[in-house]
Symmetry: D2
Subunit: 390 residues, 4 copies
Amino acid sequence: MINKIKMGMVGGGAGAFIGEIHRMAAALDSKIELVCGAFSSDPQTCLHSGQSLGLDASRCYASYQQMFATESTLSEDERMDFVTIVTPNHLHFPVAKLAIQSGFNVLSDKPATFNLAEALALKTLLDDSSCLYGLTHTYIGYPMVKEARQRIIDGQLGKIKKVVVEYSQGWLASSDDEASKQAMWRLDPKYAGISCCMADIGVHAANLAEYCCDDEISEMCADIAPTVTGRVLDDDGTVMLKFSSGARGVLLASQVAIGEENRLNLRVYGEKASLEWSQLEPNSLWLKFPDQSTQILRAGVGSLSPLTLANLRTPAGHPEGYIEAFANLYVNFAGQIEAKKANQPSPEYAEDMPGIHQAVRGMAFIENVVASSQSQQKWHSFTLQPMSQK
Amino acid sequence: MINKIKMGMVGGGAGAFIGEIHRMAAALDSKIELVCGAFSSDPQTCLHSGQSLGLDASRCYASYQQMFATESTLSEDERMDFVTIVTPNHLHFPVAKLAIQSGFNVLSDKPATFNLAEALALKTLLDDSSCLYGLTHTYIGYPMVKEARQRIIDGQLGKIKKVVVEYSQGWLASSDDEASKQAMWRLDPKYAGISCCMADIGVHAANLAEYCCDDEISEMCADIAPTVTGRVLDDDGTVMLKFSSGARGVLLASQVAIGEENRLNLRVYGEKASLEWSQLEPNSLWLKFPDQSTQILRAGVGSLSPLTLANLRTPAGHPEGYIEAFANLYVNFAGQIEAKKANQPSPEYAEDMPGIHQAVRGMAFIENVVASSQSQQKWHSFTLQPMSQK
Amino acid sequence: MINKIKMGMVGGGAGAFIGEIHRMAAALDSKIELVCGAFSSDPQTCLHSGQSLGLDASRCYASYQQMFATESTLSEDERMDFVTIVTPNHLHFPVAKLAIQSGFNVLSDKPATFNLAEALALKTLLDDSSCLYGLTHTYIGYPMVKEARQRIIDGQLGKIKKVVVEYSQGWLASSDDEASKQAMWRLDPKYAGISCCMADIGVHAANLAEYCCDDEISEMCADIAPTVTGRVLDDDGTVMLKFSSGARGVLLASQVAIGEENRLNLRVYGEKASLEWSQLEPNSLWLKFPDQSTQILRAGVGSLSPLTLANLRTPAGHPEGYIEAFANLYVNFAGQIEAKKANQPSPEYAEDMPGIHQAVRGMAFIENVVASSQSQQKWHSFTLQPMSQK
Amino acid sequence: MINKIKMGMVGGGAGAFIGEIHRMAAALDSKIELVCGAFSSDPQTCLHSGQSLGLDASRCYASYQQMFATESTLSEDERMDFVTIVTPNHLHFPVAKLAIQSGFNVLSDKPATFNLAEALALKTLLDDSSCLYGLTHTYIGYPMVKEARQRIIDGQLGKIKKVVVEYSQGWLASSDDEASKQAMWRLDPKYAGISCCMADIGVHAANLAEYCCDDEISEMCADIAPTVTGRVLDDDGTVMLKFSSGARGVLLASQVAIGEENRLNLRVYGEKASLEWSQLEPNSLWLKFPDQSTQILRAGVGSLSPLTLANLRTPAGHPEGYIEAFANLYVNFAGQIEAKKANQPSPEYAEDMPGIHQAVRGMAFIENVVASSQSQQKWHSFTLQPMSQK
């Protein structure tokens, strides 16, 4: 009997949207088993949530501290192989920190930490441990995103000239929208930190661009702002970009773009060809050429890269979506854990997974955008140095 | 601790595409647990498959007969609550029959049986038992398909005039395509019965039209044929339709439509409005009006029916796909089982699930299409009478 | 100074939609000049219309009979080179007949005649004259339609298996829609003949399919009907088709498809590839292949056939539309006249133009569809024999 | 007999793409008549071009100077009513200047002048004359662009928050593309001035945004650059925008975006609703709402503004394109001339036409973008002050 990878969960009690998504993503491929959890700071909610998920009461912990302490005492056959963190954002770091200190592999919801300083501290912790760390930058999990990356790496686009990436939503367009719990903490600096829109979704767009282009943002010129009276954090912004490779680009993000769902689009223009991908039709990838027909690559059709195929569950004509992309992150992280348990190197598909490097760059992106937007100087150099006053 | 619904599986050993899809669909929502299986007619393959799925060897059965016999002896806490049948098509009926005779609820892959006579026999068996029966007509599981049905039932389209439904694929376009195992049995009358294209996909289109329109095909005029030299079964066809309500329509199906993935589209034209849905962009539903802007209903956006929302896992902007639609069938069937175990009536969402009625109509559709196509008479009345010589 | 081709017009007085379209189409390329007209049966309207178009009163004729008589007396430098007929349908034939008898080339709005018997009579007249005859089957004028035809003729699709063609509109969906003048005569057998929907738009779909596939309908099985109480002529229908080449197909036409504008689509499935074109996005042509990326051919991009390019006015990125397609018919017909005047063979682009052959087949299509629909026999052989009682 | 508006043309000899487009646009509606021209600086080419257009040799002038001088001596019945300027860009101003000084109304291809100083000088000239001046910012001529403007002016979007406008092409992506005549002068500062991409297409995007939003750019932060080795002028750029109303935005322009045709798109996000329009599908306008179905407004369908309808030639379902949009500018300008000749105020539809105000703002946009891009300062205030050294 082949053992599944055993997962503990911190956060994600009854009613928590993202916790439910994580559980579906983990469950989809029957390779991961939820074995324990500290689902809520309220012990009753925790117990109730755990039991409704089929857990024994003994594995429903009143706190993550208790969970790590107790699980550490179990045999390897029984104790969780990794913890997935789906708490409110400000707790991501302390939970991850204690997990690593307790020797557990960590899969964390995004953002990795509250700020860049914490992300760097997390990196130091990880450097000193043997724990694995994964970050659920979901959109990286789409098969055709991987195909885009491979085509660019393979040189099919030639040298990249321009990158246009956008993530637009409309759900925070009016002050009425702030009533919801989701909205409230995202707009409150105490819980959200120094940015709302860029921290919540702009960072996904930046990550997508860097991942697909295998490149890094080196300079930026940002204009972010709150657009609704009474708000202190940005709900919209534009960032002009320069990349290490010399490519230029622009990133658009908005939470006040009425009528947009999760309009996450990427366009990459190279010297030889271009490509376009859109999250709302994730199974297509558009390839464009000079004076030649545009081609629509489709998941499951024709010749796709091994990495793409490794992240695809169905043949052509069966649309895969957000949950499958999310599940790819879980499967890939589980692949790393399996390899680690077997003392073997991770297979390529498993390595293709956001980790602490992306965590640090993500938090740095947010701080750099805010710094750039506050500056009267046009170009701001991307730095991994945390902002001073926080 | 809340118990999951316990599932046994017949068929679906390592390498079987559809078995894997069923397992993902069953696993997605963590409400169903695979507890046993007879995954293959080869005991070794069965054991290997079951163990790789985390099953104990004692629950990996060498045959479905053995599985039903042994599971029947287990306590209710332990034994499977239902069996899912994912064998080759010709075994669907004998497995379902023995399952029902053994007292097990059945969820069957499509088609329910080899022919209409068997489907009627299955219906008789079920009428005499207390077993639940579900049929995985996957496309019915899409949330926006349910929205389409609700809008039509609510009268938003007025009296229906015309229905255009199509399911086109290209994977059997040339004789080269027949090499694959999938292709071979679908084209062999011994395994496939009297039809290939209509039995495999035309029946999905018919089911989709009847479901959404809450109507039944009453007459038809069919033209089906093999288009590749050497084939005896149809790989393409058109069927003109009349419905009980008086609506007229047309059904197109093809497996030789090169370049089409699973182009399953439905258009319904009413006296007041029209709608359009496409499986390849399943999260949108187009509503059209006389001399007024077309509206795009989107999963998660605006006011949707309770049934739609009950089959939706994510808010707007997170594309859901084929596996989620499939999982809806599992969740809904599990809901029926839960209700039955609690001696309560099934909730509405759980009842919204293809069962023996659709199984009989599906097999009848196939036989009627073949009869109509062979006839020189224009209109053929839809009958539940099995064809004589079989 | 190069002389323009001189055009006379019968019908198309102030307020007539289609007359205005014809004038724009004729004017667009500055190769044709309107020199005279009999725009209305009312002499005042005729004079007023002609003068508002910049004509001298002496060339505004009170009747087409007078126009043909008088123009015949003018010198070749002065008299019209062809007459364009944009009257109500029942006059198309008598006007064309007299024009030919008077020695004038004729460009006629569709349908060519009231019925097939007239179309055959017209053919006989033309066979015995040296007059040129053109028919404005507009949709044939789109550049990417010509590209579709060329690709099929060149064998890029291989042997054609299946043709799906559709023309759906919604403007006659309810009896309220009948108030308009346009609607009234189309639904009145006295003016419209034996069919409304098939005669008005079904025939366009049939023509498009035959043109692109370079094939002819040989058998059909039709189901047409009025769907609104009180109507006697069809407003909707489906026709299953067999072609001379052995290809099979289906034609859908509707005037009660609420919300559809002029949804004229063509799909052709061959043994090697498939294509798709839609009038509502006329500058794209989709090419599909087995297990390879779909390609979007675009007007002005890449390698297109000489015939396509000859019918295209702008480079890539400048959408061309309905009027340009219509203008292509005028330019091509003018090319035939120029060649005739120069006693030279017409260039290829000019020959690519619907004429009396398409006129006869169009009228035959209508009569065959009606006959097939009335028959209880499934397959009806396409015949050029007019229906008996008319 | 109603007289047509008489047009003279400067430039546009045989082989000139844009001259041909202008002639088609002028001819389409039979309201404008070409009566004379100075089509080329080469007298033979001029004569040949004019005669092939049906002009008498006496109205084919060897130079625009001669044309203005001679036409001025003709009677009002005979002489041209306006001159349309389709020369290479650097001649637009001198020709327009002399035309105005000679008392002729001017319709000029874009850009109005070589630089802002000339545009201001042109404005002064016009202020002191009674001549009419129109500028062919083509994209403003699309009916659904006018609908967008009207909806915004009517307040249906509420206060505008964000504007995203883009014009991307790929035709200058590589140095190979420079061989063409079109490319060469656009990339040569001697002929093109201080900018290539922003001057050629960025200005269209800016004009579209200002027109639709009824707003003006007040500040900008630009990043433009040549992306191909050896070029000195920009072929790509991004400009962050602030508008007078307080709205923010971003403008993207590129001539190196391989595979893009003329991807001119506009999105406007307001407090109550949003809209989206794309030149490549110009007959649709997308309206988006908070938590409500997206609506697709279509040319000819439902309730559209009078201004939209005045610029539309066909009912629903007949795609109109680029030439029709261009023709709208001609018709509207002709409407101004008719009114002037009749000593009456122009009707509303005729006033809706880019003129000297847009000419000045367009040239200012170019100079401001270049100045902003050269500056290290983030925000640059839009100024009508010409750049010093030119």
